[in-house]
């Protein structure tokens, strides 16, 4: 069921990656991503890829989860590689078919770019796999805080995001249940052309909306009953703690970024 949900792909676990403070985790992701864009040499890329492999192992994330996350960008990767292979010239000619050549520079740069893409996605996936959607929202809330100065309702936006994330699995489950219930009444969601399929979704979408509105109503009431007011200052039941691990998690990528810049890796 929740296998198909990309947003809530959190993998429960209890490693140091899971326990990191979400703000620090997002900040270190930012450093890693910046370093990735700054990298110019294969040495630097190698170090970073090795680091990501080590982190994946440390977070006990099965590799197939990373591969699954990479699947959506597979075509982008292939396309990029092909473009670089044929259009970047320089160095030794590796292959010549008629007037079309593949040259050394094209191969090197193509491989470098796709390594960057893969590292980029892997690093982001690693963070979302080890952070609950809730913690992720808390992290984002912190980074959005400056926008309060221009009167952006940051707390409310964060609350909306949190509720949305919270209800994605619920609604997924509900739609699965409804689908089966309508299939018991002979509904067909599989055959027919796209228009027919779209029309056949009515028995699914109407009840889903009805229940979503009912849920929203109940939730609003329940929140008000527990004292939620827009604009009121909220405290947290679980304050996020900051430990030395968090400082390491954020200084290590920062140092890496510095090294990349200084030594032109």
């Amino acid at each position: 069921m929740s296998r198909n949900i990309t947003l809530g792909q959190y993998l429960p676990g209890d490693t140091f990656m899971h326990r990191l403070n979400p703000r620090f985790k997002l900040l270190s992701l930012l450093f890693v991503l910046t370093a990735l864009f700054w990298l110019k040499t294969f040495t630097g890329m190698g170090i970073l890829l090795l680091l990501l492999i080590l982190l994946t192992a440390a977070a006990r994330v099965p590799y197939r989860y990373l591969l699954r996350g990479l699947r959506p960008i597979l075509y982008i990767i292939l396309f990029t590689l092909v473009i670089y292979l044929f259009f970047t010239k320089g160095g030794v000619v590796l292959l010549r078919v008629g007037s079309v050549t593949i040259e050394q520079a094209g191969l090197f740069e193509g491989v470098f770019i796709i390594a960057r893409l893969i590292a980029l996605v892997t690093a982001s996936i690693l963070v979302t796999l080890t952070t609950t959607p809730l913690a992720l929202t808390h992290g984002l809330e912190f980074f959005l805080a400056p926008f309060k100065l221009i009167r952006l309702p940051v707390d409310e936006i964060a609350m909306i995001m949190m509720i949305a994330l919270r209800f994605i699995p619920t609604l997924m489950e509900e739609s699965q249940r409804l689908m089966r219930a309508q299939m018991a009444r002979g509904a067909d969601f599989e055959t027919g052309n796209i228009f027919r399929k779209a029309r056949n979704l009515t028995p699914l979408i109407v009840p889903l909306f009805v229940s979503a509105f009912r849920r929203a109503d109940e939730l609003a009431l329940a929140m008000e009953a527990r004292g939620y007011r827009i604009g009121a200052r909220r405290t947290r039941m679980r304050e996020e703690t900051v430990t030395w691990r968090d400082w390491i998690a954020v200084t290590a990528p920062a140092a890496l970024l510095a090294a990349v810049i200084i030594y032109a890796l």
């Binding site: 069921m1 929740s2 296998r3 993998l11 429960p12 249940r177 409804l178 089966r180 219930a181 309508q182 299939m183 018991a184 009444r185 002979g186 509904a187 067909d188 009515t202 028995p203 699914l204 979408i205 109407v206 009840p207 009805v210 229940s211």
Partner: protein, 287 residues
């Protein structure tokens, strides 16, 4: 045997960290024309089990046999099976989507490919069977009916398939006592007069004992007891351990027997209980 499961096992989301085993090798049989009740505490796998009986869920291991045919992959067979085995989900009124009661009930026959005349006949018959007035209700919105009418309409929406088996998950959940009684009577009539094979899912032993001629008890994905109510209800201690409350009458009779009154504890109605107590009193027994 009409419906049979053999070593039925179901695992949700196998191969992921979220894998959860809901059924562990359930073997059971339901006879044609019977009225069975599947009971068990929450999370025991009741709802998972019944969704296998019309092929909505696929067994991870083991198999389901309906009328001599194993439930398999074939789409056409599956569609036929779903017509024969009607499944009413929990809180079925939550599936309503049509603008009128007529269209709501006509959904199933239309999906079967019935012509308009046949659809109308089926809608009429289904509403009739559940005791609702076709003329009065057919053009009303199903969303604006009373709770009891909604539930009955949802049952009619399945009966319009003209199934041979009617499976209901928590048939009376959220209904008031009057509507609960009405639904009980309906299920009894459907079983005895229309000859439908009925399976209800409940965690209410009272309901199971009142309706069913056979009780199946599921716990933690395993079938732990099965037999006629009279037999099941004598195993009070075991049932209580599973977190199932005995019917009030059984509690009273058990209490009397524990305190030394030699009554037969297998009684299902107030009348039977009164006669039983009078019988032992006439024989001179006192507390």
């Amino acid at each position: 045997m009409f419906i049979r499961t053999e070593e039925l096992t179901h695992v949700y989301m196998p191969g992921t960290p979220f894998a959860a085993t809901a059924l562990r090798g359930v073997t059971l049989a339901i006879e044609r024309g019977s009225c069975s009740a599947l009971i068990g505490p929450s999370g025991s796998g009741k709802s998972t089990l019944i969704q296998h009986l019309n092929g909505l869920l696929k067994a991870t291991a083991g198999r389901v046999v309906v009328d001599g045919r194993a439930v398999g992959e074939d789409r056409q067979e599956m569609l036929k099976l779903r017509r024969r085995v009607g499944l009413v989900f929990q809180m079925p009124e939550q599936q309503f989507f049509a603008e009128t009661v007529y269209d709501e009930i006509a959904f199933a026959p239309r999906n079967m490919g019935c012509n308009p005349g046949a659809v109308e006949a089926r809608v009429k018959q289904a509403l009739n069977q559940v005791g609702l007035d076709y003329g009065k209700l057919k053009d009303r919105s199903p969303f604006h009916l009373s709770a009891g009418q909604k539930r009955l309409t949802a049952v009619a929406a399945i009966l319009a398939l003209r199934p041979e088996v009617l499976i209901m998950d928590e048939p009376t959940a959220g209904l008031d006592p009057a509507n609960r009684q009405r639904l009980h009577d309906l299920l009894k009539t459907l079983n005895r007069e229309a000859g439908l094979t009925i399976l209800i899912v409940t965690h209410d032993l009272d309901q199971a004992a009142a309706l069913a001629d056979r009780i199946l008890v599921l716990n933690d994905g395993r079938l732990v007891m099965s037999g006629p109510p009279a037999e099941i209800l004598t195993r009070g201690a075991e049932l209580r351990r599973l977190g199932l409350a005995l019917p009030l009458l059984s509690e009273i009779m058990h209490g009397l027997s524990e305190r030394g009154l030699p009554v037969n504890t297998a009684v299902f109605s107030l009348d039977q209980a009164r006669r039983e107590i009078n019988r032992v009193r006439k024989q001179g027994a006192t507390l």
